[in-house]
């Protein structure tokens, strides 16, 4: 499964993990993954620990998620980035829009 989604801490956290390649091939699946965040205003964690490849379409999808979720979530964190992924996010200045850990 390239995308794994799981609520943690009784619905206060939503963890979405993406494996391998993160690009427009996941556009529908990714939208569905954050389609229902519940009513607890959870923190969303995008776990990129096993994301090897990503391109600008993935960055677009992350931005769309941010736009759609707005205030229904507490914050969006991008976690466990490999160094190369991290530098792509930094170049795109995603640190200004997301919490990157």
């Amino acid at each position: 499964m390239p995308l794994h989604r799981q609520f943690a801490n009784d619905g206060k956290e939503l963890i979405i993990a993406i494996k391998g390649k993160f690009d427009f091939g996941l556009v529908q699946e990714f939208r569905q993954a954050y389609g229902d965040v519940g009513d607890q205003q959870p923190t969303v964690f995008i776990d990129l620990r096993e994301t090897e490849y990503l391109d600008s379409s993935a960055l677009g999808m992350l931005l769309n998620m941010r736009k759609s979720l707005g205030k229904t979530v507490k914050a969006i964190h991008i976690i466990n980035c490999r160094p190369e992924v991290r530098s792509i996010l930094d170049i795109s200045r995603f640190d200004k829009l997301f919490v990157i850990e």
Binding site: Q6, R49, G60, I88
Partner: protein, 553 residues
């Protein structure tokens, strides 16, 4: 494989040896009348008699003629009885033989029926003796074999757990099995992102059988930790393995925990283990990491719940993980330690360097009482791990190459060229470490050529969420209908400059690339910006419809 073969109980005859005396000849004649077919008669006069080393012997002799050395020699490896005449049998004559030199002494004359009983009794004594002997040999053989096998298994365990990172700077452990093999398991491994994983598991029972389950579990743990797999996925795999492996009445309680590289973020899954304790160095218990799942190996995949719990560990806090062997530790006054006492103990000695005091207190509590369960306690400090991300080994020598990939609509519809090119490039020296970045710029350049050059898509469609999905739907549809055009990708690697030269050309007539500065939050038009920032000498050649750039490794 060698096996132990039980030696058969000897069906040897009972030898009756008579000396020179007429008394002995006379008694031998009488015994022959008994008709016992295991009795074999032989005379000491006969030169063969000395060579006979029979297991069961009756020596017949007139008391004044008994040769004690002959008797001793016979008795050394036989069940030996002595028959002597009553007439001359003063106590001092037969006493030296009784119970020491021979097993039985009979004084003649004796009713024949009784003599027969004694002959049979001596035979049975011999049989029992040899059975006991055989069992002793068999036990010794099995003991040696078990020891040998334990040595082998111990060796296997040592190897399987050799990469267990118990020496990790910020962990303290106290692991004490009841027997040689531990039914508890405490595994620590760094992940590839500088994170650290810790597994504390407790198999039903203790000893070799439960310890066996530790092998597949630890193999899965280390392999998945290397890959940096998430806690939820790890426990799902563990459960799958344990469920298939363990018998129905055996399972494995476990808590798996991951601490992020900065030492702040804790993710855990607890199936049937006592609550691990988060405490700070002032000795306050901040949190109990309660079990919210069944132990591993109980339910099958569909029922298994891999949901994790996460929290942020405050500065200077630690997590104590332990098996029930600790809280159910039996004290020298026959009382259990209990979880409250453990909490008190941690509160009293919360600092890392005070760990020996906790161990000392546990050992003091136990005194001389033998352990009745494996005991494991580990304390992990929530401290930046200092491990850093794993760097793949740097290559020293590179391989210069050039490649050209010409893609017709047939290819474009059926394969994902960028992934395939990357699969090949990431096998080459130097390039593997840069595969994520190489993928990114190749994907940008290729998608630009395909989407705008050949398919004539307009990026501005992507400006809202719906349009974004629509854009990719359109890409899918137009690609399916594409029947002409070509994309050519050229990649060359110069080892001396450690530079990749890339060009991507298309035969279309769509939009030229525009690379205006744009709003940070826009979900489109980012691709060429990224290219510009990550590569050098980015050029767009309108005549050849070719984008080219260099990337220095």
């Amino acid at each position: 494989m060698d096996i132990y073969i039980e030696p058969p109980i000897d069906k040897a005859p009972t030898w009756v040896i008579s000396d020179d005396s007429s008394f002995a000849q006379n008694v031998a004649d009488k015994l022959q009348q008994l008709g016992l077919n295991h009795l074999k008669f032989v005379s000491l006069k006969n030169s063969n008699a000395a060579a006979v080393r029979p297991p069961i012997v009756w020596l017949i002799s007139a008391a004044n003629l008994v040769d004690i050395r002959v008797a001793e020699q016979l008795a050394s490896d036989s069940a030996t009885g002595l028959l002597i005449t009553e007439a001359q049998a003063k106590t001092e004559t037969w006493q030296p033989f009784a119970n020491k030199v021979v097993n039985d002494v009979l004084l003649w004359p004796e009713p024949l029926g009784l003599v027969r009983m004694r002959i049979e009794l001596l035979r049975r004594l011999y049989e029992v003796d040899s059975q006991v002997d055989a069992m002793r040999r068999s036990l010794a053989w099995h003991k040696a074999r078990v020891e040998r096998e334990h040595q082998l298994v111990e060796h296997i365990f040592q190897n399987a757990l050799s990469r267990n990172y118990l020496d990790y700077e910020f962990v303290r452990t106290y692991l004490t099995p009841v027997s040689k093999f531990n039914g508890d398991l405490c595994l620590i491994s760094p992940g590839p992102l500088g994170n650290i994983y810790m597994l504390m598991a407790d198999f039903t029972g203790h000893g070799l059988a439960p310890a066996t389950g530790a092998l597949p579990l630890s193999q899965a743990f280390f392999a998945m930790a290397d890959r940096g797999v998430s806690v939820a996925e790890m426990v799902t795999e563990f459960n799958y393995r344990m469920n298939r492996l363990l018998p129905n009445d055996m399972f494995c309680a476990a808590i798996l925990l991951e601490l992020s590289a900065n030492g702040e973020r804790v993710t855990y899954w607890n199936g049937g283990m006592p609550p691990a304790l988060l405490f700070n160095d002032a000795g306050e218990i901040l949190k109990r990491l309660n079990p919210s799942h069944m132990a591993l190996g109980v339910v099958d995949d569909e029922e298994f719940d891999s949901r994790v719990t996460t929290f942020r560990a405050p500065k200077d806090s630690s997590i104590a993980l332990f098996t029930d062997g600790v809280t159910e530790l039996l004290g020298h006054q026959h009382q259990f330690l209990g979880s409250e006492a453990l909490e008190v103990l941690l509160s009293k000695h919360p600092k890392a360097d005070e760990f020996p005091k906790i161990v000392e207190a546990l050992e003091g509590f136990r005194g001389e009482t033998p352990l009745h369960d494996d005991l494991s306690l580990a304390i992990l400090q929530c401290h930046p791990t200092g491990l850093g991300a794993v760097q793949p080994e740097a290559d020293i020598y590179g391989l210069p190459f050039e490649m050209k990939v010409e893609l017709t609509p047939e290819h474009l519809k059926t394969v994902d060229p960028v992934s395939h090119i990357l699969a090949a490039l990431s096998q080459l020296p130097f390039l593997r470490r840069h595969r994520t970045t190489i993928y990114l710029f190749l994907a940008e350049a290729f998608n630009n050529a395909l989407e705008h050059g050949l398919l004539g898509l307009d990026s501005s469609l992507k400006q809202d969420v719906e349009g974004f999905a629509q854009y990719y739907q359109l890409r899918h549809e137009r690609l399916a209908e594409l029947n002409q055009g070509q994309i050519t990708i050229r990649i060359a690697f110069a080892t001396e400059q450690r530079q990749l030269q890339v060009s991507v050309a298309d035969s279309g007539h769509g939009f030229a690339a525009t690379t205006n500065k744009h709003d940070l939050t826009k979900s489109y038009g980012r691709g060429l910006d990224l290219l510009r920032q990550m590569t050098s000498d980015l050029r767009w050649d309108q005549t050849n419809r070719e984008v080219s750039f260099n990337y220095r490794l």
